[in-house]
């Protein structure tokens, strides 16, 4: 594995450090020792010492969600996420990644999305076509939402319409590059993809529905020196702004609400307050013990393609925190976490906690 000096140093530090082992959402859900930052680093350290074959550790490298909880936890400042991304790139170059990963990349090459879906839901497509083909503002839905959660997309569009915003949704929306970056790390191909997408995004403002896409636009593009001329806003910050300026006026209910901070929003983009502003306008907040920057990853549709059981366990684990919060409703802001939580509800002894996306909550309160 051809890793940078910095990442080799990270591996050397993390391989014998146990301090963040409790924080890995995959490890906590599966109970498997290999799903800890120290175990991944240990495996890679053996590969670097030519004492283990890279093909024996590569699947473990793909078991990381890149949620950054370990990076946030590290007092010393090591970044295991950067190591994982580089190791994935090396795995791709060496051709040793699993068939599932290869299939997803193949799907992307053929259809523009890793799921290999070729058609957008008819109702969503009609709704998109009913919008102005060009305006100053783009609502960027992202692949997960477009292909896996058309109802979420429809709700988002309907909410913006109710607010009275003038906006466009592209039926041939380019890919943010999130999935490819997740799967292959930083390669020339990833950069080309970012560049191509940036060229197509000629809008004054882009409201990015999914936190993963928002992270790519706001963090990765910048790191690669790719200039997106538009003002990029997250979905939650846009809605919070509409509440602040009085264009969106949800009615406050008696509901107690807990917010599932998405790691990309909370940790990568350091955005935790706008969603709470929305929640406070709709009800009262009851936080989960680990929230805000401490949030716990609750699922990924991309990872579910190749680790279905593990991702189901991750979502079930997070439900425990939701139930412990005592809230009536858990509110999500990402398609992946919404779907994973929705499909993995766990049995509750007394009152039943509802799951709502943030736009469902607001629509309910209008």
């Amino acid at each position: 594995m051809n890793l940078s000096q910095k990442n080799k140093e990270t591996i050397n530090s993390c391989r014998f450090c146990w301090m963040c082992r409790h924080i890995c959402p995959i490890g906590n859900a599966t109970g498997q020792e290999r799903n800890t930052p120290r175990a991944r680093a240990l495996g890679m350290s053996f590969v670097l010492r030519n004492n283990e074959k890279p093909e024996n550790i590569i699947n473990n490298i793909y078991e990381c969600s890149l949620c950054g909880a370990c990076t946030k936890e590290c007092v010393t400042g090591w970044n295991p996420v950067a190591v994982i991304l580089e190791a994935r790139r090396e795995g791709i170059f060496a051709g040793i990644v699993s068939d599932s990963i290869k299939k997803m990349i193949g799907n992307f090459e053929k259809t523009g999305n890793i799921y290999g879906i070729t058609k957008i839901d008819t109702e969503l497509l009609n709704e998109i076509k009913s919008l102005p083909p060009k305006s100053d503002t783009l609502l960027f839905l992202g692949k997960d939402t477009t292909y896996k959660n058309p109802q979420g997309a429809l709700n988002a569009i309907r909410l913006l319409k109710k607010i009275g915003n003038d906006f466009t949704v592209l039926s041939d929306e380019p890919d943010s590059g999130y999935a490819i970056h997740f799967l292959v790390g930083s390669t020339a191909e990833t950069k080309n993809l970012f560049n191509e997408t940036a060229k197509k995004l000629d809008f004054e403002t882009i409201i990015v529905y999914d936190p993963c896409d928002a992270k790519i636009f706001l963090r990765e593009y910048k790191e690669w020196g790719i200039d997106v001329k538009s003002q990029i806003k997250t979905w939650t910050s846009h809605l919070a702004q509409q509440i602040e300026n009085g264009t969106l006026k949800p009615k406050r209910t008696d509901l107690s609400l807990t917010f599932q901070d998405h790691f990309a929003l909370a940790r990568d983009l350091e955005e935790t307050e706008p969603a709470r502003k929305i929640l406070r306008a709709c009800g009262s907040i009851r936080e989960m013990l680990l929230h805000g920057k401490e949030t716990v990853f609750a699922g990924s549709l991309l990872m579910r393609e190749y680790l279905p059981n593990e991702i189901n366990l991750v979502a079930q684990e997070r439900w425990n925190s939701v139930i412990n919060s005592g809230a009536d409703v858990v509110v999500t802001c990402s398609t992946a976490e919404y779907i994973c939580l929705n499909e993995n509800k766990i049995e509750q002894k007394s009152s039943v906690t509802q799951l709502l996306s943030i736009e469902e909550l607001v629509l309910k309160c209008l």
């Binding site: 409790h22 906590n28 020792e33 030519n50 283990e52």
Partner: protein, 472 residues
């Protein structure tokens, strides 16, 4: 073992715990072969492979654990129990191969009982997660070791762990009520419903500290406590450890602080200076008092009076608070001792009349016999009758050859531990014995060792559980 028989046993184990919880994959074997033991880390660092299990199983409860142990007994396969691998004594290393039983899927919360103030949980739960649950209910476990985030409930019970507020709240054995465990033959038993009784010897105390050699613990009732209304810190600087030990002893006859940590002069000018910022010469001592605010205020007055008598300089609360905030920072890379250094923590415990003698004897024996080694220490857990020394040796440039490094490591350990034993100390206070110190168990216990050996013979006649650990 031939491939066919191995495959047959693997399928039996898969039947017991589920195929997805049974692995012979190289990555799973590798990550369970290196724990926090310095020798295992050094061995791996030098490109050597530590002994690996042949198969890793992750049972979900006592019944699955029982099934695994029955299979292991039939085929006479060694079984090593692994919690989170945060142990320093090599207790979880599968030195004889065989089955490695990872407990982390036994991480359920079975009951939060606020009437009797305990949480019943699987022993595979990471202690920090147990603390989180307690916090969710506005309580706390009062068990805050530096390994809080990297050890399981079962791991702490297996080696009789301790946390930083132990002086007031006790060790892990003071914090557990009932334990469910699986005996080597697969029988599932429960210890008595409460620990303090006169119905014969306390079963808990037979299994706590047995390091996976007598049973696999599967469930435990861990005590929870009301959060203190106030926790107040006070830092002091003594001229030397001798005065500080006397002051500490007198204080404990009057009140019970939660944190009591005394750092020797060498540790004060190195680690304490770096992390807490105390730059003066002397022996730094940090005290925390906690509980009901009015009582804490009275205790603080007593503390100041006692320590003044022994010439302690009052450093106020700032350093103590900083220490509390940074108490886990000490163990992160860049702050903790790490390779390529060789190091070891020879924690021992003794009554007050012997503790200082032991400190000097260990220091002298190590520094005299191994001039390449530095010796630093602090006294971090205190009782009315004595205290423990967390004494460490550090060799900045150990031999490059792994066998030579291993030899030197063990020689220094032998020397330090024998100095402690010769002066009335014990082999270890709270890290356990494992493979690291097993050879010295007979030196501590002499003919008393036959009690442990008899227990082992009776409970585990096929010697399947954690062979060569604890000197058994």
């Amino acid at each position: 073992m031939n491939d066919f028989l191995f495959a047959m046993i693997q399928s039996e184990l898969e039947d017991a715990v589920g195929q997805e919880n049974c692995s012979a994959n190289p990555i799973d074997k590798l990550v369970h072969s290196v724990d926090y033991f310095w020798l295992s880390r050094m061995w791996a660092d030098r490109g050597r492979r530590m002994p690996e299990a042949d198969i890793i199983v992750s049972p979900q409860n006592a019944h699955e654990t029982s099934a695994v142990l029955k299979i292991a007994n039939y085929y006479k396969i060694p079984v090593t129990t692994w919690g989170a691998g945060g142990g320093t004594q090599g207790g979880a290393i599968p030195v004889c191969g065989g089955i490695l039983l990872d407990t982390k899927r036994m991480n359920k919360i079975h009951q939060v009982n606020t009437d009797s103030m305990y949480i019943e949980c699987g022993t595979g739960i990471i202690y920090k997660h147990l603390e989180d649950i307690a916090n969710d209910y506005s309580y706390t476990t009062m068990h805050y070791p530096s390994s809080l985030t990297c050890s399981t409930v079962g791991g702490f019970l297996a080696h009789r762990g301790i946390g930083v507020v132990s002086t007031k709240y006790g060790k892990i054995d003071d914090m557990v009520l009932q334990i469910e465990l699986v005996l080597p033959n697969g029988d599932i038993i429960e210890t008595s419903p409460v620990p303090k009784h006169a119905a014969g010897p306390d079963l808990n105390q037979i299994f706590i500290g047995s390091e996976g050699t007598l049973c696999v613990m599967t469930k435990a009732q861990m005590r929870i406590y009301v959060q203190p209304e106030e926790r107040r810190f006070r830092g002091f600087l003594f001229k030397n450890i001798s005065d500080a030990l006397k002051a500490g002893k007198e204080l404990l006859q009057k009140i019970k602080p939660s944190v009591m940590r005394l750092y020797d002069e060498a540790e004060t000018i190195s680690i304490i200076k770096k992390i807490v910022g105390v730059s003066k010469k002397g022996a730094f001592m940090n005290i925390a008092l906690e509980g009901i605010a009015e009582i804490v205020a009275i205790e603080e007055k007593i503390l100041l009076d006692v320590f003044k008598k022994y010439g302690a300089e009052d450093l106020g609360n700032e350093y103590g608070e900083k220490w509390w905030k940074e108490k886990i920072t000490f163990f992160y890379p860049g702050h903790a001792l790490d390779l390529p250094q060789m190091f070891g923590t020879m924690d021992t415990i003794a009554p007050f009349d012997k503790i200082e003698t032991i400190y000097w004897a260990m220091k002298e024996s190590i520094e005299t016999n191994f001039p390449m080694a530095r010796f630093i220490a602090h006294f971090s857990h205190w009782y009315e009758w004595g205290a423990m020394i967390y004494d460490r040796f550090i060799v900045d440039e150990p031999p490059a050859d792994p066998m030579e490094a291993l030899r030197l490591h063990n020689q220094i350990w032998n020397c330090g531990v024998r100095a402690a034993l010769a002066n009335g100390g014990v082999l270890n206070d709270h890290h356990g014995v494992g493979i690291k110190l097993g050879r010295l168990m007979k030196e501590q216990y002499g003919s008393a060792m036959q009690v442990f050996e008899a227990l082992k013979r009776q409970l585990d006649p096929n010697q399947i559980l954690n062979p060569f650990k604890l000197g058994l």
